[in-house]
Amino acid sequence: MTPRNESEVAAAIVESTGPVRVMGGGTRPIGRPVPGEALSVAGLSGISLYEPGALTLVAQAGTPVAEIEAALAKENQRLAFEPMDHRTLLGTKGTPTIGGIVAANVSGPRRIAVGACRDFLLGVRFVDGAGQIVKNGGRVMKNVTGYDLVKLMCGAYGTLGVLTEVSLKVLPRTETQASLILHDATPEQAVAAMSAAFGSPFEVTGAAHDGTETVIRIEGFTGSVAYRAGELKKLLSAFGPVDVLDDAEASAARWRAMRDVTPLTKADGDIWRISVRPSAAPGMIAGLPSGSTYMMDWGGGLIWAAVPAGTDLRTHLGDTSGHMTLIRGTADVPTFQPEAAPLAALSAGLRAKFDPNGILNKGIMG
């Protein structure tokens, strides 16, 4: 099914006789395999509104991310949450769509400083499992009118409705950037250095560790970046020699690689994504099975781990206070962190309300 507009999406849902597999560009095959006929939103494409002076963009769900990024670049703006491109890590082809990014709440390194996709999502239109067209939120930056179903739809992997249109807050591109690099830090030292950087007034917009190097990013106007690079260099010297990468292009390339988790793309085995408080990250990394490789983003708040195929990492690491997601792999475990019983009941209750026949991306989040 490739509907061309919202009413055709609604008609397709109403007429469906069995489960429906909702698809954007198909570049992020995360979650359990889903039964049913494919419904692609690729036919719903195009930017319907873009007001640079109001920092707002509205687009159809199937709009390619590249098209949006190009339109924003023309006005010197960007998607500040820096959405990851999963194609390299997951070996997928196809065209990432904005609807896919929203459905999976995809963010990148700058999430730690400015927020995730869900924080930039101002409004949605969607077709629920009964074929009804629903809207929530809007196109303004502050909006507390009624319940925030916008957040609920973001990261729901299409299980509560088929997204047809999304409205996003965008931000100015910064004039330049620089990165500070520490070498050969242990996970403990890396997290300590990254925490020190975030615990300074110097507005760090990225802090990652690729297993050997710790990279800290600052962005802004030229004078400001030079000043903060100097101050942070002094601050971080306590953790070892610090290199400053002040070539903006080279720094940006470094962060694209971090964003797309390229340090792990060649790794064998299963890929896990672990959201955790930064102070707990070193302990968790120490507990990874032998033969694992890892990288950290978000100042240690996000661990990407490549572990031997089939490992049930949750059981292996024992009880943790964070959240572990199996992004790529063979382990026969739930993709997402199982919820405590009362929360699982709430989630199931919400799915039953928004998708009463249980047809939308059935079981994908199981």
């Binding site: 007001e51 963010s107 303004v140 502050k142 507390v144 925030d148 591109r173 106007f221």
Partner: protein, 477 residues
């Protein structure tokens, strides 16, 4: 403002209900004396008052759970209350409802600078969260004007904003986790000290649900290191259109100020008379504040001032020191107080696309003439969050109703140009009956379905957010 007819059967059982509540709470934590319950008869929307059946002040999550379990069993509506500063009537009770106040829950439970988080009980005031970490250079970013008094519980319920959210976001962007008690007494933990969890974003829908989904007793909040400094610049223009164009140009130029505040002539005049901040008499005034080191501030202000100059400002005043910065903010910060001295007023908070600013300001002026009520405009211009202050006389019969009618027209205009009814105050009872202007029945049905899941009996703050007739069958069930 219409409220549902209180359930007489509940009121007649008051003694019995109070007795049950005293079984799980200390005697003095259950307030049933009629005179004492008057302390809870209204919130910041003080035009509407109704003493509750009784009020309870639990001191722990367990006590909150015990109270809710009893109310759930006896089918008694519960109205959660933070500090009662809501401007939308979010904490206004009905005569058959138990007020559940979180004022006794005000401890800091954990602080971690390494993880940049603080965990607090939600009766703690907004400003005292920053107070707990500021000596170490950190702060909690959302800053509603009522921050001295308002509680984190209310901030979460209303998804509160503030003057600085252009840069730092509102409550939902700074909330990492909660402990929440469901109406049936079940205690749930959502999120934590880590960032985004997988699974459905329950935290996202709880924040801003106006106390209708559960009672949040503990919250994990994101804290940030303070910038080195901040400095405002004041600029005056001879029309609101020009000021609006200047805001848009600043944003397009890639400068992201921490705040852009706007005042129109009526507001400038009242504030100047009250605070004597030395504001220029002009049609529109902007206060733009940026952060960083001295040199970084200079770099940003240089760009902002260059843009402002292309719009022929009638006044351009850069603060050279803390004293001058204070004077620039003085008038803006006393705006509401100044208006209150002159008159009774109603403060709206509809939000609009910044591009629609001139059209909406013109529309407000037309409405002001039509209704014969003066309006001052002071608002967060960077994010389009308006604050029209409609002046009326509370002692003049019919004036409040006239003011409300005019307020409704302004909010309809906000929706018409692509905005919304409320940007940061919440719907409460105040904007409840306007929800149909912004939403179709199917949209409201989807929102109410969420409440059906969290609170199937519709006992938590039931007469808020949704138009009464829309929620009628659910509340009566």
């Amino acid at each position: 403002m219409e409220m549902p007819t209180p359930n007489a059967a509940i009121i007649s059982r008051k003694a019995q209900i109070v007795e049950r509540l005293r079984e799980v709470l200390p005697d003095d934590a259950v307030i049933d004396d009629v005179a004492e319950t008057r302390a809870y008869e209204c919130d910041g929307l003080s035009a509407y008052r109704c003493p509750p059946l009784c009020a309870v002040l639990p001191a722990s999550t367990q006590e909150v759970s015990a109270v809710l379990k009893i109310c759930h069993e006896l089918d008694i509506p519960v109205v959660p209350r933070g500090s009662g500063t809501s401007l939308a009537g979010g904490a206004m009770p009905t005569a058959d409802a138990v007020i559940l106040g979180v004022a006794k829950l005000n401890d800091v439970l954990e602080t971690s600078y390494e993880d940049r988080m603080i965990r607090v009980q939600t009766g703690r005031t907004n400003l005292s969260v920053t107070g707990a970490v500021e000596t170490d250079g950190f702060f909690y970013a959302p800053d509603p004007s009522s921050q001295l008094a308002c509680a984190i519980a209310g901030n979460i319920a209303m998804n509160s904003g503030g003057a600085h959210c252009l840069k730092y976001g509102v409550t939902t962007n700074n909330l990492l986790g909660v402990t929440m008690v469901m109406m049936d007494g079940t205690v749930v933990e959502i999120g934590g000290a880590h960032l985004d969890s997988g699974g459905l974003d329950l935290l996202g829908v709880i924040c801003g649900s106006e106390g209708q989904l559960g009672v949040v007793t503990e919250a994990t909040l994101r804290i940030l290191h303070k910038p080195e400094g901040a400095r405002p610049v004041l600029m005056g223009f001879d029309s609101s259109e020009v000021a609006g164009a200047c805001v848009s140009d600043i944003i397009k130029a890639g400068v992201l100020p921490v705040a852009i505040e706007f005042m129109d002539r009526p507001c400038i005049e009242v504030c100047e008379a009250f605070a004597k901040a030395g504001y220029p008499m002009c049609d529109a005034l902007l206060i733009v504040e940026v952060e960083g080191s001295e040199a970084e501030i200079d770099e940003q202000l240089e760009k902002i001032i260059a843009i402002a100059k292309t719009h022929n400002p009638v006044e351009l005043r850069e603060a050279k020191n803390a004293d001058e910065a204070g004077r620039i903010w003085l008038g803006r910060k006393s705006a509401f107080g100044a208006m209150g001295q002159v008159n009774d007023y109603m403060c709206l908070d509809g939000t609009i696309p910044v591009s629609a600013l001139p059209e909406v300001l013109r529309g407000i002026q037309d409405l002001s003439k039509k209704f014969g009520l003066d309006v001052g405009n002071v608002f967060h211009a960077g994010d389009g969050n308006m604050h029209p202050l409609i002046l009326y006389n509370a002692n003049k019969p019919g004036d409040l109703e006239l003011c409300e009618e005019m307020g409704a027209e302004i909010l309809k205009l906000c929706v018409k140009v692509g905005g919304c009814l409320t940007g940061e105050h919440g719907v409460g009872i105040e904007k409840r009956d306007l929800m149909n202007v912004q939403f179709d029945p199917v949209d409201l049905e989807a929102q109410m379905a969420v409440k059906d899941v969290f609170d199937p009996k519709w006992l938590l703050n039931p007469a808020k957010v949704f138009p009464l007739e829309t929620s009628q069958t659910r509340r009566a069930a």
